[in-house]
């Protein structure tokens, strides 16, 4: 499609602005994540958790706390499926801890040890201050604002503490509940007490909270609480999403498998042709791999081998290698189809940023981002208002967008995801389809359906029921595909990256934490920077010369292959256009023809020349060599023959003149074998000459036999007039009703099967003898069938031409 010369079409500007506006206005009201309310920082949470521990009379020594931020899928599902979304947001913020902190304390194990919970040695001692000093596993869940939801002490405590009376244990539990629940604890009623080596107390609140039963369970051992659970129980069993997840998983794996095979196949094929460049892919994949390492570094508080070395070595290696293959395959495939779409992409990868080409793609990419964000916001708003949509996710760890440097984390993960998704599902898929399908709409729709059923797309926010998610993915897919088809690769990548980043980062503006507010603002500042780059780039009048130094060298090899392919197509067209379109109708002659060009064009040629009412000139020839040169020489031969045939009535004279012209005008080494003859239906004769061609086969009705007619003669172009003329013999034979004349090229007699046996002249003779009552056309079809069944699936290596003339 032609690239509009204006930087941004009007419609694009208008739709982008609408998209941006709806995103800014609606986001806060439609995204579950915008209801997160956070304490200032990681430090605040650590402080809150250590103060809670102190209240529980624990004092951790030699601990390394690990913090994570999670969402509880079940609670999210319950709240969003039972309440209108705006209400659900308030519930999530104030009452039901859908989002929670997880703080676990484990003994620092050192780099090369893994921690096994059950086997860990536990040291417990009671200090003079009554605090239990413990080196073991503690875990607690805190609400967003730092209140205790759950506490577990998983350590096996072997030190027997003083046995406690039930009343004392209950006092300990009630004190704790008072502390953590506050005055509303008076609304709870004690339900059960268990006693074995420990005491378990269970309370239930007298009223439900948004339909959920709220309970407290406390387990006391000795003088300490080892379990505290504030639990929220939905009134009925929630729909199981597991079976749906299984289907998704199967589809995902299937799709992955298909694409892995396709990418591997293309990569191997292109590597063999030396048509893959890793230059661009290497830069992008190293950025992705390095980004992962950086992000991991800022977040991790794991110091075990499995938790530290594996992510830092294996994951980046995997990212780099897989992206290299994917980008290599996608680039190579698309350079075949639409090299112009990679120009600004090539430029930006080579860090040529300030120029018009790049600026234009960036501007359109920003437009694409806004449009996608608009679709995102409107889609969620519509489904929340008009359908029974709800959200869920299996206790998904969203630590990465809360801890560390959230903006960095979002950008890094989005960057990798965009590289995978766009290079596979847009650039590779569309190029692959484009090659095979003409209709642009067909390829956009097929690619979008594939994307629609690809659930790798959005793990961040899972919408249910699943159909809604497919429709959404499909819509997003359509827009992305259209932008690639209309604009270029850089537009697509920038648009998709912007979308991935903002759809996540925007939530941070509403979390009520200054740190996160700035993190949420960072992408906007980056966007501003991008706009300045666009502005400067557009001021640069000149497009940089992108063609010569930016295009990878393998492209010229690819162009060479494409050029040869086109040449062959031209040669084939020339050849086909030179063959007669109709067979002249001459009384008494029943003529049928067969001409099947080989993939690698040979130089077969046949023609009919109507000399007058009763004479028909007939020619069959085979030009040496293949491809465009054969087509060219055939043109020459045809021209020579047409000009000579009407001048002279003797095939011998025509042939002599033809050789003279050909020998003079064609380089040595090129020759044509040819038969030229004249059927005279008034005189009932066939007069012909043979210039080095396969003999004429005659099936004679009078003699009831088959004969090869092979008068002396040398192929055209082999030698000068002296020898040629001397050897050129003309033969005339009488024709009778029922006689059959067969002219053919060596493609017929030398047709090969997979055993490298040739079809041979004997077979041809036998077929003709057995079918001599057939019409010309029936005989041609019969011979064709026999050849086909002889060669089977062996590829045809030479043109095959067959002329059958039956005398009526």
């Amino acid at each position: 499609m032609e690239n509009n010369n204006r930087v941004l079409e009007k419609w694009l500007i208008i739709v982008s602005i609408i998209g941006l506006a709806s995103f800014i206005v609606l986001y806060r009201h439609v995204s579950p994540h915008s209801s997160i309310k956070l304490l200032e920082s990681k430090q605040d949470i650590l402080q809150a958790s250590s103060s809670i521990l102190h209240k529980l009379k624990y004092e951790p020594t030699e601990y390394k706390p690990r913090i994570g931020f999670y969402q509880d899928g079940k609670k999210l599902q319950y709240v969003t499926s039972h309440f209108p979304f705006s209400e659900a947001q308030k519930i999530m913020q104030n009452d039901i801890p859908v989002y929670f902190w997880n703080v676990s304390y484990r003994k620092s194990a050192g780099l090369f040890n893994t921690v096994d919970k059950s086997q860990e040695d536990v040291e417990v001692s009671i200090g003079p201050d009554g605090l239990q000093k413990i080196t073991g596993n503690l875990r607690m869940r805190l609400s967003q604002d730092g209140k205790l939801i759950e506490f577990d002490n998983w350590s096996k405590i072997t030190v027997s503490s003083d046995t406690t009376a039930q009343a004392d244990a209950r006092q300990i539990a009630e004190d704790a509940a008072q502390t953590f629940v506050g005055p509303s604890f008076s609304n709870y009623e004690l339900q059960q007490i268990y006693q074995d080596s420990t005491y378990t107390f269970k309370w239930l609140a007298d009223s439900t909270l948004w339909g959920m039963k709220v309970g407290i369970e406390i387990v006391v051992q000795g003088t300490h609480i080892i379990r505290y659970h504030h639990s929220y129980i939905p009134p009925e069993e929630l729909n199981k999403l597991q079976s749906e997840n299984d289907v998704i998983a199967i589809l995902e794996v299937l799709l992955m498998l298909i694409y892995t095979i396709a990418v591997a196949f293309i990569i191997v094929q292109r590597l063999r042709r030396d048509e893959v460049s890793i230059r661009n892919g290497l830069r992008l994949s190293i950025i992705a791999g390095f980004g992962f390492v950086l992000n991991f570094w800022t977040m991790t508080n794991d110091d075990t081998l499995a938790g530290f070395i594996i992510p830092l070595i294996f994951i980046p290696t995997f990212i780099i290698l897989s992206l290299l293959a994917i980008i290599g395959a996608a680039e190579s495939t698309s350079r075949d189809i639409w090299p112009e779409k990679l120009r600004s992409y090539d430029a930006i990868i080579r860090i040529r940023i300030l120029n018009r080409s790049v600026a234009r793609s960036l501007a359109r990419g920003i437009g694409l981002t806004f449009i996608l964000l608009g679709i995102f916001a409107c889609y969620h708003w519509i489904v929340q208002h008009f359908t029974g949509v709800f959200y869920s996710i299996e206790n998904e760890n969203i630590t990465s967008i809360v801890l560390g440097i959230p903006a960095l984390s979002i950008i890094v993960t989005s960057f990798s995801a965009v590289c995978y998704n766009e290079f596979i599902f847009r650039i590779f898929t569309l190029s692959f389809l484009r090659r095979r399908l003409d209709s642009q709409w067909a390829i956009v729709i097929i690619a979008s359906i594939i994307w629609g059923i690809n659930f790798l797309g959005d793990q961040y926010l899972l919408v249910f029921p699943i159909q809604l998610r497919i429709i959404y993915n499909f819509l997003i897919g359509i827009v992305l595909c259209l932008f690639l088809i209309r604009y270029d690769v850089l537009t697509l990548l920038v648009g998709s990256l912007g979308f991935a980043v903002f759809s996540k980062s925007q939530a941070m503006l509403y979390w009520g934490s200054t740190f996160h507010f700035w993190q949420g603002l960072l992408p906007w500042l980056a966007l501003l920077g991008l706009i300045i780059i666009v502005w400067i780039g557009l001021r640069r009048a000149m497009n940089i010369d992108l063609l010569s130094d930016l295009t990878p060298p393998y492209v010229s090899r690819m162009n060479e292959r494409e050029r040869m392919k086109r040449e062959l197509e031209i040669a084939r067209k020339v050849q086909i256009s030179f063959l007669p379109k109709t067979i002249p109708e001459i009384p008494l002659l029943d003529i049928a023809t067969l001409c099947i060009p080989a993939t690698e064009i040979g130089g077969d040629y046949y023609d009919f020349i109507r000399l007058n009412e009763h004479q028909l000139g007939i020619v069959i020839g085979d030009v040496s060599g293949k491809g465009i040169s054969a087509a060219f020489h055939m043109t020459l031969a045809k021209g020579f023959l047409k000009s000579q045939a009407r001048r002279d009535n003797s095939p011998r004279e025509v042939m002599k003149r033809l050789n003279e012209l050909f020998y003079e005008n064609v380089e040595r080494g090129t020759f044509i074998s040819m038969i030229y003859g004249i059927f005279d239906v008034r005189e009932k004769t066939f007069t012909f000459t043979r210039a080095g061609h396969n003999p004429v086969i005659i099936r004679s009705i009078a003699f009831d036999n088959i004969e090869d007619l092979c008068p002396d003669g040398i192929a055209l172009g082999l030698t000068g007039s002296d020898i040629f003329d001397h050897h050129m013999e003309e033969q005339t034979i009488g024709i009778r009703t029922g006689d059959i004349f067969i002219l053919y090229t060596d493609g017929i007699s030398e047709a090969m099967n997979n055993q490298k046996d040739e079809f041979g002249e004997d077979r041809l003779h036998k077929i003709i003898q057995s079918q001599h009552r057939a019409s010309a056309e029936e005989l041609v079809n019969y011979i064709h069938e026999k050849i086909n069944s002889f060669v089977g699936k062996t590829p045809q290596h030479d043109d095959m031409t067959l002329l059958v003339i039956k005398i009526l």
Partner: protein, 114 residues
């Protein structure tokens, strides 16, 4: 993939080329190169032994035509020997026997040169 091979053996001023396999548009340059290098060495008496050749295409035939004129101008020749009946038929149909010395045996060709 040795689809086609040329082996050269020299007997004083007469060079014998043993050709083997498939001689077509793709393999013809190999033979061209070999004959060209003989000409560069001023060796114009060439015998080509076809005994191990299984297939020849029109492009393969073209090789001999390309060189025959300059070689004959230098008082040399290309003599073709030991063709299988199938290969001979290809040459025969095209009228090569009137243009080239095609002999049954390599020794005959060598003797003829002497």
């Amino acid at each position: 993939m040795a689809l086609f091979e040329v082996n050269r053996k020299e007997d004083s001023e007469i060079a014998v080329l043993n050709i083997k396999g498939y001689l077509d548009a793709h393999t013809a340059p190999k033979l061209e190169e070999e004959i060209q290098s003989l000409m560069n060495e001023q060796k114009y008496k060439i015998v080509v032994n076809f005994s191990e050749l299984t297939y020849i295409s029109s492009a393969g035939l073209g090789v001999f035509m390309g060189f025959i004129e300059p070689i004959r101008e230098n008082a040399g020749d290309i003599k073709l020997t030991n063709m299988t009946p199938k290969i001979f038929r290809v040459f025969d149909l095209l009228g090569f026997p009137s243009l080239y010395d095609i002999l049954d045996l390599e020794e005959d060709a060598i003797a003829k040169f002497k």
